[in-house]
Symmetry: C2
């Protein structure tokens, strides 16, 4: 009997945020791949694209015209998944057919008027303006009576279902706390009630001690590959101070967040020397007016790529039916990300 | 105030198998799509492909040679995610770094020696042989002391990460009950303990009463779009009789299962007149030697396509961070599937 080696032997790891296990198969990283590959779109984009419905001054799909904005610009999504309308509804429902109307607001945030940029290529001061708008939007939307949760996120790259390269993110604000956020909240709460401290505060402390999965830190934030990461290059940005939500951040803290966002996304771009696709988003306290001492601001990055710019990780059969599964270990991914430069590859090419 | 209309207004639906809600946005089905499209590979495949590592008599990636098999053929996966080896392991682990070794066996099941076929194009009697092998494998693997769960599944189509069109599925058998199966089991158990009946038995009865989401049924099985389906054309095959697992099926029942598998996958192929991609798999009782009266055999089909052969549903940003979201309603999908022929489009083309 050989003894267990986490770089060699299949194992499961525990995710305390979701209270579930994931499967890690380090020995599987080298299997040959003959399957689907992704197109790598690396055309040079213009600063303003007359056909882009997000560019300044252009017509949108619904016939409205964008103002000649500079910098960040927010508007209501023309094809939202939610509606503001308050409909009449009878609560009586047969068993197994439980549903309820959901109210909400969908917004689009253009990060810049410059069509050709993405977060890693923007100046820190301009990313800071995006963070400012996230804060304003969380406040403004959260203040609506019927909005109890504000989900801020970005889908980047066509492989992540993003249909327009213009740098932008989204907000889906709604009456209910969404499923995954609620699960996270329940686990944060259990920990907080038991220990009187934030789960993520304690976790980050441990990670800063062992330093195997930390990518970097600045004064206010840490970027790391979670011990229980599912996606090959999944990362998390966590505030060092236990802040329940983005409203609590001071101006210098927002600047720190912009900085770490820039550095992390530069490393991502440098990994395969492409504009790196991902879905990213903020987890923070809901806007339901209740106290939430258990919450601790963090941001998840879920990038789909595995081996190179063309081969992604497929979360399919086993993963959909049974359990998330990953090949390279979180420690290997963290090491690769640690060793990448924070100077964008385009600047030295 | 208008009154609620589930064909028009955003709402959430409850999934009792996972005890969570999903978001339905029926009004969003018509938004324009300018994003990534999928390649539709509709080449005519040969009956035997000398370059296919799953065909009879061919060399596999690891240098082994396949026998000259006819019909169904099972072998251990050359690049498995699990290993049989029992490693020594100390259970003491620091907080937040919980892991444990996982033992298991990965197998590949070739459904046929004919490289050019898929389930919908196979004869019912030949699909029945696949069902026989699923039963044998569940029994054989489940009998191993250290195997407590046997996951049988199929990834079909390159968009689902399948790298070889040769008709085949997989089995991942392992020591632990995987996360999603465990969650399902907990909910089945709660229902069973409270009501003394199977959740799915009661659910199927209700669906057979209202008949809004039933695609078809035969003597032993029902195929339906679950009320809480997430994927646009997600379906479920459920046994009418409460059978905990595939071992309990008689020969006629296995024949019924083969029949409904054929008809459902033909409808899928007919939907966009392509070989329809999906991940599918069986949920049934674990092989942990404990009694499982709560379990009820069912099979999930998760197909990625949304509008046509080229446009899939992206489960990205909001879905990854917050909650699954769908556009067309389950009732609309069910109606579309109901109206499709059970004669394969290739036979009348
Ligand atoms: O083993 P395969 O078919 O090569 O691999 C495929 O199915 C597996 C199980 O769902 C996934 O883990 C892989 O990401 C996918 O590419
Ligand atoms: O709203 P978009 O960017 O067009 O749409 C994209 O993001 C949404 C939110 O994650 C998803 O529901 C869609 O499937 C995806 O294509």
């Amino acid at each position: 009997n050989s003894s267990f080696n986490q770089k060699k032997h299949p194992h499961r790891r525990y995710n305390p945020l979701l209270d579930e296990w994931i499967l890690v198969s380090p020995q599987r990283a080298n299997r040959p791949w003959q399957g689907q590959t992704e197109k790598v779109a690396e055309e040079k984009l213009p600063v303003h694209d007359p056909n882009c419905y997000l560019c300044s001054g252009n017509m949108r799909v619904n016939g409205e015209k964008n103002p000649d904005y500079k910098g960040v610009y927010v508007f209501d999504n023309d094809f939202g998944s939610l509606m503001k309308v308050d409909v009449e509804f009878s609560d009586e429902q047969p068993d197994f057919f439980s549903l309820k109307p959901e109210r909400g607001i969908n917004r689009v945030i253009c990060f810049s008027d410059n069509h050709s940029l993405t977060l890693p290529e923007m100046e820190v001061n301009d990313i800071k303006k995006v963070v400012d708008v996230w804060q304003q939007q969380y406040e403004e939307l959260g203040a609506e009576d019927y909005i109890n949760h504000v989900q801020i996120f970005e889908n980047k790259g066509s492989v992540m279902g993003c249909s327009n390269p213009h740098p932008h993110g989204q907000i889906w604000a709604q009456s209910s706390i969404p499923s995954t956020v609620l699960r996270t909240q329940e686990n944060l709460k259990k920990y907080f009630e038991k220990n009187g401290r934030s789960l993520l505060e304690d976790y980050v402390k441990k990670e800063l001690e062992v330093r195997e999965r930390i990518i970097f830190e600045n004064e206010d934030f840490v970027a790391l590959v979670p011990f229980w990461a599912v996606w090959p290059y999944e990362t998390m940005i966590v505030s060092k101070r236990k802040t329940e939500n983005i409203l609590k951040f001071s101006d210098p803290e927002k600047h720190s967040l912009a900085e770490i966002l820039k550095d992390l996304t530069i490393k991502y771009d440098n990994l395969f020397e492409i504009s790196f696709p991902y879905s990213a988003g903020i987890h923070q306290s809901p806007t339901d007016g209740k106290p939430h001492p258990e919450w601790h601001f963090h941001m998840h990055f879920y990038p789909p790529l595995l081996r190179n710019a063309e081969v992604k990780k497929f979360m399919v059969g086993y993963e959909m039916l049974a359990e998330p599964q990953r090949d390279i270990t979180p420690e290997q991914s963290a090491e690769i990300l640690q060793n990448l430069s924070v100077v964008h590859y385009k600047t030295y090419k």
